[in-house]
């Protein structure tokens, strides 16, 4: 009897989310396609025959594969390594692994050039330059450093929601070695999270712009996104614009070819329904040398990937002019004073509000798609929301401007819509990777035991999903807060975001000023990230797990 309203509920859920997807994703992409169709159909051979396009496409695809092939295993290895209880300073490492994601992309790229290029920090201080940092190798390395926190986070969330310490213990007790347990128990359980990490890593590399632009373009290394930007910069004529849009749609086509089959075919096969209550404490590792090696490896990775570049950035920001020695005698704060003005605080408040609303709505939207994609009607949703993630920021901004600019051009609402469209997949994938922990029988058991619908969802569904929801929220919040490309193209009077004000206050390219504003943008990230991380830790602490234990026992009774 209850099945009819339930079916209706699911159908109206699919309908509601479908409408939002149509408005945020499908219509803007179709508008872009329409522009190409009406204005550029006679010129497509010129666009695709343009010099260097084949090279840019090849570079982009190779980069996406090379970054994913390294960032996913590396992130997973770090997450698994940090599970070991014998790693000294484990909690600290868990936080500091996320540092690179708090640094805006262009800042990370820029700081690497300040650290390792000729006449950079390591060259002037130790006489050790790495000239290839400008070019494909540098772009690849920084993209890996930028992506590993995300793949680590997704794997760690997967471990938090999916790991089965009891199964692992049983395997060990039955005589399996550590490698066999990893291969036969842990990794198979992690497959949905690893798939989510791979898709995100691949798509994020396809659409990455700031790092290839800062580190690749000076060395003549072009990608599809830098070619798009060049088209837009070089010509104000309609054909250049159509060329840029066509290339952006090419990225969408690549995503459709790669991600849609993966979602439709692989997605359902990777999911397994497991009991939500991950019974038993994690396996305690005996103290050994391995933990110290892991800590040492992480230390080297963070030192070279983040700390040396950031130190270089700070010394650059405090040096009055290029070519002047970086010694403390010359240090000055003038560059910082030049990039802070009265509009900065207004913009900071506006950006924080925008990021807060965007991250909250995105977590809800991501959760909706994760729930609905389990049904046949909702299965294409996951792939659809990935399409706007791959559109480069400049193109997505133009798409939304063309679609809705007539009514809400120049407002914060349009910028918010752009964030929702851009980051929907960002919120959805981590939740999706963890959702099959939601046990089929436990909600019913809770309801049968007298819990109201909200209580049942709160105590049964939200608790095992909390790490994934928080991770999704945090990633979206941080990304929205330091978003540059879309807001600087869409803003109007009264809707300047922090990045717009800071970037406009100094013409980029003047080294000291660029470094100073990069340092400030990074510091701003740390302010909200710290409490959020502490909240995640608190939610995952053993005391909370004990509080919730009665519900877990209840579920077994059901």
């Amino acid at each position: 009897m209850a099945s009819r309203p339930a079916g209706l509920g699911r159908r109206s859920g699919v309908l509601a989310v479908g409408v939002v997807i149509a408005l945020l994703v499908v219509f803007p992409v179709i508008r872009l396609g329409y522009v190409v169709w009406t204005e550029g159909s006679g010129h497509l051979d010129e666009v695709f025959g343009g010099p260097g396009l084949g090279e840019a496409v090849t570079n982009t695809l190779l980069l996406a594969v090379a970054v994913t092939a390294v960032a996913v295993p590396l992130g997973a290895a770090v997450a698994l390594g940090l599970r070991r209880t014998d790693v000294p300073g484990r909690r600290w490492w868990r936080f500091s692994m996320l540092l690179p994601v708090l640094v805006p992309q262009f800042v990370l790229g820029y700081s690497w050039t300040q650290a390792y290029a000729r006449a950079g920090f390591t060259d002037t201080v130790f006489g050790l330059p790495w000239p290839s940092v400008l070019g494909p190798w540098g772009v690849w390395a920084v993209l890996v450093v930028n992506t590993v926190p995300l793949t680590y986070l997704l794997t760690a969330v997967g471990l938090a929601t999916r790991a089965e310490p009891d199964l692992e213990r049983a395997a060990r007790a039955s005589g399996a070695g550590a490698a066999a347990v990893l291969r036969e128990v842990t990794l198979p359980l992690l497959r949905p999270s690893l798939a989510a990490a791979s898709v995100l890593s691949f798509v994020l590399t396809l659409e990455s712009f700031a790092i290839p632009q800062v580190m690749g373009t000076p060395a003549g290394f072009s990608t599809v996104t830098t070619t798009i930007y060049r088209d837009l910069s070089l010509g104000s004529d309609p054909l250049s614009f159509v060329e840029a849009i066509t290339l952006a749609l090419l990225l969408v086509a690549i995503t459709v070819l790669v991600v849609v089959p993966a979602d439709l075919w692989l997605g359902p096969r990777l999911r397994v329904n497991r009991v939500a209550d991950s019974a038993g404490a994690p396996i305690v590792t005996p103290r050994g040398a391995a933990g110290r090696w892991i800590a040492g490896g992480l230390g080297v990775y963070l030192l070279l990937g983040v700390i040396v570049p950031l130190v270089a950035l700070v010394t650059t920001a405090m040096t009055p002019a290029v070519g002047v020695s970086r010694s403390p005698a010359n240090w000055t704060l003038d560059n910082f004073a030049a990039v802070v003005n009265s509009r900065t605080t207004d913009a900071l408040a506006r950006s924080a509000l925008l990021a807060l609303i965007a991250a909250t709505l995105l977590t809800l939207l991501g959760g909706c798609v994760a729930v609905l994609e389990r049904g046949r009607a909702g299965r294409a949703m996951a792939s659809l929301v990935t399409l706007t993630l791959v559109l480069p920021g400049s193109t997505l901004a133009v798409a939304l401007l063309i679609a809705y600019g007539r009514w809400i051009g120049g407002t914060l609402t349009l910028i918010l819509l752009a964030y929702l469209a851009k980051l929907w997949a960002f919120a959805h994938r981590p939740i999706s990777g963890a959702l099959d922990r939601l046990p089929p029988g436990e909600l019913q058991a809770a309801r049968a035991s007298g819990a109201g619908a909200l209580t049942a969802v709160r105590t049964v569904a939200l608790r095992p999903l909390a790490p994934a929801l928080l991770a999704a929220w945090l990633v979206c919040f941080v990304t929205a807060l330091h978003e540059v490309t879309m807001s600087s193209l869409l803003y109007g009077p009264g809707s300047e975001t922090l990045a717009v004000v800071v970037l406009n206050s100094a013409e980029l390219g003047r080294v000291g000023l660029t470094a100073a504003l990069s340092v400030l943008l990074t510091l701003v990230m740390l302010v909200p990230a710290l409490p959020a991380w502490l909240l995640i830790r608190w939610l995952r602490s053993p005391r909370r797990a004990c509080d919730a234990a009665p519900v877990g026992r209840l579920s077994h009774a059901g």
Partner: protein
């Protein structure tokens, strides 16, 4: 039935929260939207790629003098092009005045009938090389040579292609319009032509991205000399960077930034007044004090050596043969 209950719980969760939060979240933004609606009689919208430090003082002074309000959208040329292209396809250009950084970009807007057809009466005070019937140049970038202090100073452009310099840095003409202007001038000048670039390349010259990158590279000692813009070079030099600035013979290449009235705002007196003000002596003085080179003769800007030679590229020719020129250039310097 069990599956149905689960779905109800989930659907309630997702839709209930969603319905609750969405209007709340959008409320402040919607207020914001209504507050910042279209421009009324006393306010205009300016689209520009000129840096904040140059454009803000001008806007402040104009607002103080006229009582009108100027809404500013400022972005690098690529983003400006994207925004305008988006505007055009969603109801029309939202700007009343467009202030571009190079004539090539502006000519593209004129060709689409977005701007032009009007220049202020005082435009005739500006030298002819810096204006057309559709727009008038209000600021100039001078492409000059720089050298590291411990390297010899070049006296002419051809010196840079001589044996003294094994590592010269130059900006990418597909990135910087000033570099494209210089490329156009060298190409149009029979004494140089594209052979100048070929010789530079054979001697070991490196193409970097922006003029600022060239200043950075030379100041850091990575390159002996380079081609860049005067503002950037003098800023670094004055801050203490160990470089010298030369206006080589036959002249620094002048690339002007033009301002134009939007066609849809042809009858806006505030927009016309703003353009007249930027062209006027007082507007040009504000611009010069803010660190740009004014186009109006006699108004002081940043440093210019006495009798510094200046040459002017022919922009209509560059506009016509841009693609072929860049293709030929890229045969020399890769892509």
């Amino acid at each position: 039935m069990l599956r149905g209950m689960k779905a109800v719980a989930r659907a309630r969760f997702s839709r209930g929260r969603f319905a609750l939060l969405m209007p709340l979240a959008l409320l402040p933004l919607a207020c914001d939207a209504s507050a910042s609606g279209g421009s009324d009689a006393d306010s205009i919208t300016l689209y520009t790629c000129v840096s904040d430090e140059s454009v803000q003082p001008i806007i402040e002074q104009f607002e103080a003098d006229s009582g009108a309000e100027v809404n500013l959208f400022r972005a690098p040329t690529g983003d400006l092009n994207a925004r305008i292209a988006g505007d055009v396809r969603s109801g029309g250009l939202k700007a009343d005045v467009v202030w571009a950084c190079d004539p090539l970009t502006m000519q593209g807007y004129v060709d689409q009938d977005l701007v032009g057809g009007w220049t202020p009466d005082n435009a005739t005070d500006i030298p002819e090389q810096f204006r057309t019937d559709d727009y008038v140049g209000v600021a100039v970038l001078y492409v000059v040579a720089i050298h590291r202090n411990d390297e010899p100073a070049p006296s002419s452009w051809s010196d840079l292609a001589g044996a003294d310099y094994e590592s010269v840095a130059l900006p990418d003409p597909t990135v910087a319009a000033s570099a494209l202007g210089a490329l156009g001038w060298f190409d149009q000048n029979p004494e140089y032509g594209l052979d100048f670039y070929a010789t530079l390349q054979q001697n070991g010259a490196q193409q970097l991205s922006t003029p600022d990158d060239v200043v950075t590279g030379v100041a850091q000692g990575v390159y002996q000399a380079g081609i860049t813009i005067a503002n950037s070079a003098y800023l670094a030099k004055d801050a203490g960077s160990p470089i010298g600035v030369v206006w080589p013979e036959p002249g620094a290449v002048a690339v002007y930034g033009p301002i134009a009235l939007a066609n849809d705002s042809a009858d806006s007196t505030v927009a016309q007044d703003f353009i007249s003000y930027v062209v006027s002596e007082s507007g040009q003085q504000v611009l010069g004090e803010a660190g740009s080179y004014p186009t109006l003769p006699g108004v002081e800007g940043p440093e210019v050596p006495v009798d510094a030679p200046v040459v002017y590229p022919d922009w209509p020719t560059i506009t016509d043969k841009k693609d072929a020129l860049l293709a030929d250039y890229q045969k020399i310097f890769g892509g």
